[in-house]
């Protein structure tokens, strides 16, 4: 099995199939296959956002019919000075960063363990990827009721005591369940990287008298860097949107200790029915995402520009 990060966007367009001066008709014949997907993506993902922008300027609580009116930027003032939203922002960063970092580290450890042949390697690999395949909602319910439950949960069943894990360590409870689900994802990507590492390089390092630890930190880790970055980037894209686990395990509580942005906006929309405010919070979240995503896209484009190492 050869494993490489493929030449993606960086790959030069195939010269043979690109005529020197495509005329108008030909340009459109090139675009034609792209258009349905592009139009669909714009209509379904971009138009709602324009609508959000409009809604964010309205004072509109759905519980008070006829209360809808233009308020300019008042909702933004409300949102930006709201303590709950600031707390949600911090929680989102903590939740995402700790889940991504922990699952990358654990995934790295497991990938190293699985990179050598041993009896039952295929079975162990299969066992390890299973958490990622379990439906996230099923996983969240499982952790909440079958594992963390103070009276009949598995944790207290094994270690004794009657700790109410979710109340005592709310953020840790959520992060643990997420790390359990995402470690296999990281492991798969890093393992694919490890298996593409050239044996000659490792052998050369060994001949030069490097110990296993030195080889790992000086040769393997730098080589794995694009894979670690790819895993962290994709993990962040998904984990920053975490909803299922918060919704199920802590309901954002106790208080707002584990309320992240997705959950906070959900509450504003469907519990408080403050549509205008929810829209403004959404716009703020999008702007924040664009800032982070611009950085992420830069990483992504450098990753996909990786040439085949061999």
């Amino acid at each position: 099995m050869t494993t490489t990060i493929t030449t993606g966007t960086g790959a030069a367009p195939r010269p043979t199939v690109r005529p020197t001066r495509p005329d108008r008709a030909q340009r459109w014949s090139r675009r034609a296959p792209l258009l349905p997907a592009l139009v669909f993506a714009i209509v379904v993902t971009q138009l709602p956002f324009l609508f959000t922008l409009y809604l964010s300027t309205q004072s509109w609580n759905a519980l008070r019919p006829g209360s809808r009116e233009f308020t300019g930027l008042a909702n933004y003032g409300q949102v930006l000075t709201d303590d709950r939203l600031r707390a949600a922002l911090v929680n989102t960063v903590v939740l995402t960063a700790s889940s991504v970092i922990l699952s990358v580290l654990l995934g790295l450890g497991l990938a190293v363990l699985l990179d050598r042949r041993f009896p039952g390697r295929g079975i162990v690999r299969t066992l390890l990827i299973t958490p990622f395949l379990v439906m996230p909602m099923a996983a969240a319910l499982l952790w909440k009721h079958a594992i963390y439950n103070p009276s009949y949960g598995l944790l207290n069943g094994i270690f004794g005591g009657s700790t109410d894990w979710v109340s005592a360590y709310p953020m840790t409870s959520v992060v643990t369940a997420l790390v359990w689900q995402w470690t296999p994802f990281m492991m798969l990507i890093i393992l694919a990287g490890l298996q593409g590492q050239s044996l000659e390089t490792l052998e050369a390092a060994r001949v030069d008298g490097a110990g296993p630890w030195q080889i790992f930190t000086r040769v393997t880790l730098p080589y794995l860097r694009p894979y670690l970055e790819l895993g962290a980037l994709l993990g962040s894209i998904y984990l920053v949107q975490t909803f299922d686990a918060v919704f199920t395990i802590t309901q954002g509580g106790p208080g707002s200790a584990t309320t992240n942005l997705p959950y906070e906006i959900y509450l504003t929309t469907f519990r408080k029915f403050e549509y205008g405010e929810a829209a403004a919070a959404g716009v703020v979240a999008v702007i924040g995402t664009i800032v982070v995503a611009t950085l992420a896209l830069r990483v992504l484009s450098s990753l996909f520009r990786m040439e085949d190492p061999r």
Partner: protein
Amino acid sequence: MTTRSRPADTAGGLWTVLAWLAGLLFFLPVLWMVLTGFKREVDAASNPPSWFFSPALDGYRQVFDRDLLPYLLNSMTASVVSTLLVLVLATPAAYALSIRPVERWRDVLFFFISTKMLPVVAALLPIYLLVKQVGMLDNIWTMVVLYTAMNLPLAVWMMRSFLLEVPTALIEAAAMDGASLLVTIRRILLPIVAPGLAATALICFIFSWNEFFFAVNLTATRAGTAPIFLVGFVTSEGLFLARLCAAATIVSLPVVLAGWIAQKQLVRGLSMGAVK
């Protein structure tokens, strides 16, 4: 598979044990879920938890008594139809971004992936209001459209990485022989990218099957999907753990099995085609 012959020694034995322990530890919660599903409610809520018990099918019986099938059918419809739609839209688009690229294909590619990074919560309210306006709340076709949009960027990136693997020489040779576009697609492209189509379909299916956020906010009784069914099992009174675990096992099974069988495609798919 690269053969890695390293000297077998005691350290090797230790690593083997360690790897097995790690595998079992990660699998333990899943095992616990499956076991609990076969308990009677009283056994499931025993303190301390019991590892040995006489298996019962009460949990499973109650799951089916609660009309699981319509939910599974909804999930199937939403996942399968949206996956097919995604493939139909994404494959030609990927073609126009790889084999016969449009100008500024790089920008288009990044536009697609940027839609994946936008927070879904920001789109929820307008989508909810629009869907409500046109009377499509609690309608499975609404979910089909949303899941198609959700998976389209991933599919475009993945299919593009597979199409880039088609040797240029093959396409040129076909053109030289005067093969029409359709013939080229059917005889040359399709056989080579078929595994890619399968991998893409697998990923799209997994993400649609597991989706909860839109489902919980836009569906109710008629168009509810499998994860919605699960949430309905939690009650504040009485014991529900055994039947909850039975239901969780059933709804997770399709994806777990598919993922087990197609492990290699899974890696490629999850990394959007970046890792072969």
